[in-house]
């Protein structure tokens, strides 16, 4: 292992000088370093700003301060064990990461998932979407100096985390979805807890809207700030709410349904302005749509197994281990060497709260992923910050970082 470097090397700035304009080198414009430790960068994002007075001329993001080596590390784990790594990528959307990884593995080895497991996956993914949007809303409003919204948002988020904990035993890093279904069935209190959340939450969204939607200070900070045109969004690969706020009604849950999303009736909220306020409105409406999906999925939640019955890929239930030798063998094989995946590559994408979350998974006939690549939405969306910020004030940059809803674990992987 190389020694840990604890000194900042100032020479790293030399490589960046050619990215700034002539004015910066002559001293007409100012170079300002923002981050990695800055409260509004939502983690450890570093931005090198070129400023003309208070106006932003250029933004040079420097990422990688949270590079975790997840892709490399997953190559060293079996398909089942690698699930724990997925949680920690986009730590506001753990369930969604579990989901896309499991879908990729299921596609690679051609594994079916029972309908009950699919419905529970949808419920939890949508709850997670709400919880992720709540963190976004809280921190975004906090950045724009509306402190109390943060406290309200985290109050409701706790309810969702309690449901997660009830299912999986963990608040955030659930690892609840496994290739072939779920780790186990949901507990009996699950339905009541979700119903209670459904009963309470619509009024709470109105509460947040009452605080922000017509708040003149909030409007002043968000309207006409960071306008993103639809063609720019597509050219730069922006997905998710940011794309929909620019007027493109594209949602992978609708256009390429997975996990049975085609059974549920919901709308894709869009907006045409493409500014920070439009993105706010789209996300608020998305929370309401997520509630609709949860309601429908819960109403017709089927009974039955929550794991595939294919014993070559899914461990047998514990009750069988006592009397079936075959079950013991399968159990042993799966937990010691894992299941083999055929040679080939698949790409699966789902709609995460931030946009298109894709997994490129390649198998080589062995029990471990030969190569896994995460196409993460924040990584793609952050590139567009340069476009958004040009000509705005430094103070608006704070709103812009919040509005594209980046998660650094998602960017740096």
């Amino acid at each position: 292992m190389p020694e840990i470097n604890t000194h900042i090397d100032e020479s790293m700035l030399d490589g960046i000088t050619r990215l700034v304009t002539e004015d910066a080198i002559e001293g007409k414009t100012m170079l300002l370093n923002m981050g990695p430790q800055h409260p509004s960068t939502h983690g450890v994002l570093r931005l090198l700003l070129e400023l003309d007075g208070e106006f932003v001329v250029n933004v040079i993001p420097d990422i990688g301060f949270l590079h975790t080596g997840v892709e490399k590390h997953m190559e060293y784990k079996t398909f089942e064990k690698a699930v724990v790594m997925t949680d920690r990528l986009d730590y506001l959307n753990n369930i969604g990461n579990n989901l896309v990884y499991c879908l990729a593995v299921e596609k690679l080895v051609d594994l079916d998932v029972p309908p009950r497991a699919q419905a529970i996956r949808v419920i939890l993914t949508e709850l997670q979407r709400i919880s992720s949007h709540l963190v976004w809303l809280g921190t975004h409003a906090l950045d724009l100096a509306a402190m109390s919204v943060f406290l309200y948002c985290f109050r409701e988020r706790e309810m969702i985390l309690d449901i997660m904990e009830m299912c999986s035993g963990q608040r955030m890093m659930t690892s609840y979805f496994r290739p072939g279904g779920l780790w186990r069935d949901v507990p009996i209190e699950f339905e009541d807890a979700v119903r209670q959340f459904l009963r309470i939450f619509p009024a709470r969204i109105d509460e947040y809207e009452a605080l922000l939607t017509k708040n003149p200070l909030f409007l002043e900070r968000t309207q006409h700030v960071g306008v993103l045109k639809a063609e720019d969004a597509i050219r730069w690969g922006v997905t998710g709410p940011s794309l929909r706020a620019s007027g493109v009604a594209h949602d992978l849950r609708k256009v390429r349904p997975y996990s049975g999303y085609e059974q549920y009736d919901f709308d894709i909220p869009t907006h045409t302005d493409g500014d920070t306020y439009a993105r706010y409105l789209v996300r608020m409406e998305e929370m309401r749509q997520s509630l609709r999906i949860v309601q429908q999925a819960l109403d017709k939640l089927p009974y039955g197994p929550t794991r595939s019955n294919n014993r070559k890929f899914v461990p047998p239930p514990r009750s069988e281990l006592g009397h079936s030798m075959e079950a013991v063998i399968h159990h042993f094989k799966l937990f010691t060497e894992g299941f083999p995946a055929p040679k080939g590559a698949v790409y699966v994408a789902v709609e995460s709260p931030r946009g298109e979350l894709g997994v490129y998974l390649e198998g080589d006939g062995g029990p471990k992923p030969y190569r896994i690549h995460w196409r993460t939405p924040s990584f793609a969306n952050l590139q567009v910050l340069k476009l958004l910020a040009k000509g705005h004030l430094v103070a608006d940059l704070v709103a812009l970082i919040g509005t594209i809803d980046i998660v650094l674990g998602d960017i740096d992987r």
């Binding site: 292992m1 840990i4 470097n5 604890t6 000194h7 900042i8 090397d9 990695p36 430790q37 800055h38 409260p39 983690g43 450890v44 990688g64 301060f65 949270l66 590079h67 975790t68 080596g69 997840v70 490399k72 590390h73 724990v84 790594m85 920690r88 730590y91 506001l92 963190v135 809280g138 921190t139 943060f150 406290l151 309200y152 985290f154 109050r155 988020r157 706790e158 985390l161 608040r171 955030m172 890093m173 650094l408 674990g409 740096d412």
Partner: protein
């Protein structure tokens, strides 16, 4: 604290300087607003209404290291981040304390690989380790109370 009951008629209380200073230090410890990864979200949850860290005099998170005296390393520290973390620590005024929150900053956690520092104690000296991936807000609060315990027991001769 109940100081007013001990004041008596004179309005004077006698105590050891050591105790008074340590008491003052624990009751207004300003943590640095510095989140790295997943644990930062739980740190935010600990600040929010349900867990309310301000009960322990810690509602004020300072974004500047110059104004803070507790660094909560909330999340995994990558090798690229290590020099930045060290500089932030060096910028904090004495006396200062460090809590390694979560498995990743305590020992590397599940990420035992090329990119992550295996334990932040190789970069900055750590006072309290909080286990969990991520620790619940209660876990963090317990870690903070443990740190308060440590601070309360510091001796005058160690200050210098």
């Amino acid at each position: 604290m109940g100081v007013e009951q001990k004041l008596g008629n004179m309005g004077i209380v006698t105590a050891k300087l050591e105790d008074v200073v340590n008491w003052a230090r624990t009751k207004a410890m300003w943590p640095m607003l510095f989140g790295l990864a997943c644990c930062a979200i739980e740190m935010m949850a600990a600040q929010a209404a349900n867990y309310d860290m301000s009960r322990f005099g810690m509602e004020l998170m300072r974004a500047s290291p110059r104004q803070s005296d507790l660094m909560i390393v909330a999340g995994r520290v990558s090798r690229k981040m290590a020099p930045v973390l060290r500089r932030l620590y060096d910028q904090m005024p004495d006396p200062k304390w460090v809590i390694a929150m979560g498995d990743c900053s305590s020992c590397g956690g599940v990420f035992n690989n090329y990119a992550i520092v295996p334990g932040v104690d190789e970069v900055v000296p750590v006072d309290v380790y909080v286990a969990g991936c991520p620790p619940r807000p209660e876990g963090l609060i317990h870690g903070i109370l443990t740190l308060h315990e440590k601070v309360r027991n510091q001796k005058l001769r160690d200050w210098a």
